[in-house]
């Protein structure tokens, strides 16, 4: 096993990098430079070990067996819930529902709370920078219920126009669903303001935390949001796991999402009594192995410290921004005052896809395209961008390589 990186003042990034075996691989004969962290982050050895230890040591179905393995697996699964609760500052463990990811969390709210509480003429407010996952479920719901979807516009820096949000709010507003951090632009939205304003008109608030959970310290009680959804795989954890937080008082009143095993207390053909929280929303055998390993990912983040991570990522963002701006004809899309370590850009007369292909040819992984936010791209009248997004293991040297790779690509394409 690899030694855990010692953390004192500042980050020992070289030691952290050693915890991520994938960072040693070559791509196209060159050392991998992974700058697609907003899509998914790489996994530390401790997460990989937790997965293999689970499958080689105590794999069993949970919450039912009385044998040793079942007890160990159940205990590990529930430890992940406690760690997740701490990670976002939830009050009680019943408020932590395991899902497949952010998308499923949002859909769960749309299909349960939404179906129960949204009626004809009601309004749901989202923003102009949402990921498709936080648009489509609400469109489906609005269509079904003859409700109205309203959109907070964004300005040319990629910030929400709060005056317009204030105007959209009314007693008809039943839900506000916004991203904490934009995956395409990096904008950190003023969610505290949004939550307070929405509550003032009696609306509930769902925060899409897919991008924020890895960069920012999250305290759902302080935010006072009603729902918060995020994905393990963007927080150094395995794919196929996510968390939906919901206030207990709200979760208790919601109808179940899916029916099946685990979510029931008693079943007769006449009637089923649902299980208590959070199991009521966790029908079927869950993704036990990945959920168990998810704890190792949260432990990793806690060990390094969100604050240290943020400081490091802010440094990378600042450096990358100033270096990229020295490239002629390069324009950064998303220049909000508050930004997470995501940087989206376009270069005049060059298609993002061409840049992406040529960067990949140099071992540099970036994302190109619309980033599942087509309405946002339409606002900026662009088909897409190149996006570099940084994680705790990225370095200044890698940004230099990105800039060099871009300069080389531009020369080839000119």
């Amino acid at each position: 096993m690899i030694q855990a990186a010692p953390i004192s003042k500042g980050l020992n990034v070289e030691a952290i990098r050693k915890e991520f075996p994938i960072l040693e691989r070559l791509v196209k004969g060159k050392p991998l430079i992974y700058l697609d962290n907003a899509a998914t982050s790489q996994k530390p050895q401790s997460v990989i070990d937790a997965l293999t230890e689970y499958y080689s040591g105590y794999n069993a179905n949970i919450h039912r067996g009385i044998h040793t393995l079942a007890e160990e697996a159940t205990a590990a699964f529930e430890r992940s819930r406690d760690t997740a609760r701490d990670f976002i500052g939830a009050n009680v463990r019943e408020e932590i529902i395991f899902t497949r990811g952010t998308t499923e969390g949002i859909n769960l709210v749309a299909y349960t709370w939404g179906r129960q509480n949204i009626h004809a003429g009601d309004e749901i407010i989202i923003s102009g920078l949402e990921h498709h996952s936080n648009i489509v479920p609400w469109q489906i719901l609005c269509e079904e219920k003859k409700a109205v979807l309203k959109v907070i516009p964004i300005n040319d820096k990629g910030e929400l126009v709060l005056e317009k949000f204030d105007e959209l709010l009314s007693s008809k507003t039943k839900l506000v669903a916004v991203a904490h951090v934009s995956n395409a632009l990096g904008t950190i939205n003023p969610v505290k303001y949004i939550i307070d304003a929405a509550h003032n008109v009696g609306a509930k608030v769902l925060i899409d935390g897919a991008q924020s959970s890895v960069h920012l310290d999250i305290d759902v009680q302080d935010l006072d949001c009603d729902f918060f959804a995020f994905s393990s795989h963007k927080v150094y954890g395995p794919t196929g796991v996510g968390v939906l937080y919901g206030k207990k008082s709200i979760l208790e009143l919601m109808p179940p999402f899916q029916g099946g095993g685990e979510m029931i207390k008693e079943v007769t053909f006449e009637k089923t009594i649902y299980n208590e929280l959070p199991y009521k929303y966790e029908a079927g055998t869950p993704n036990i192995g990945d959920t168990v390993a998810f704890k190792a990912a949260l432990d990793f983040v806690n060990r390094i410290g969100k604050e240290n991570i943020k400081r490091h990522e802010d440094e990378l963002l600042e450096y990358a921004t100033s270096e990229l701006l020295q490239i002629p004809d390069l324009k950064i899309i998303g220049t909000s005052a508050e930004k997470a370590s995501v940087i989206s850009f376009v270069i005049d007369r060059i298609h993002p896809q061409d840049l992406g292909i040529l960067l990949d040819n140099n071992g540099i992984a970036v994302r190109t395209g619309h980033h599942c936010a087509q309405p946002l791209m339409d606002t900026f009248c662009i088909p897409g961008t190149v996006r570099a997004s940084f994680a705790v293991y990225n370095t200044i040297h890698e940004i230099d390589e990105l800039v060099a790779g871009l300069r080389k690509a531009i020369k080839m394409l000119a």
Binding site: K28, H351, Q353, D354, I357, L358, D360, N361, T368, G369, P383, G384, M412, L413
Partner: protein, 148 residues
């Protein structure tokens, strides 16, 4: 002239040309160069109905029949994709529908493009091939209807 070369012969030419390159950079420079040299498609063809689906970049493809042979014209807003289409046009254009339908297009793999382009992008490439073959099938059907 490529006019009287078979599809297989043109594919062999391309494979030969690529065998001269030592690095991926050189291959890409060549593809980019081909992309730049492909004549721009007339604006009147740049319609939604001529777009090839499944590509991250926009690709327009049109086909016309001339003396029993299909002539392809295409364009894209991304130059590497344009270079790839340019190769497909060089191989497939000016052949009969039957020849196009039968074409195995092994050169794509032999010059390393399928393995090299990531799944999403090579899907775009495959969509283009599929679209070209669909045109050939459609023309073949039309011919057989006329002949009967």
């Amino acid at each position: 002239m490529s006019e009287n070369k078979s599809i297989q012969e043109i594919e062999a030419d391309i494979i030969d040309e690529f065998s001269l390159f030592d690095s991926w950079d050189e291959k890409y420079e060549y593809i980019i160069d081909m992309g730049k040299k492909l004549p721009e498609l007339d604006e009147k063809y740049k319609l939604d109905e001529n777009k090839v689906k499944g590509c991250q970049s926009t690709v327009w493809l049109v086909a016309e029949m001339e003396n029993g042979k299909i002539i392809f014209k295409a364009d894209s807003d991304a130059v590497i994709v344009k270079g790839l289409i340019s190769m497909l046009i060089r191989v497939l254009s000016n052949h009969t529908p039957d020849e196009i339908i039968e074409a195995k297009l092994e050169f794509i793999q032999k010059i390393g493009m399928t393995s090299h382009l990531a799944q999403t992008r090579s899907n775009g490439l495959l969509s283009m091939v599929k679209q070209m073959k669909n045109f050939a099938l459609a023309y073949k059907l039309k011919q057989s209807l006329i002949n009967n």
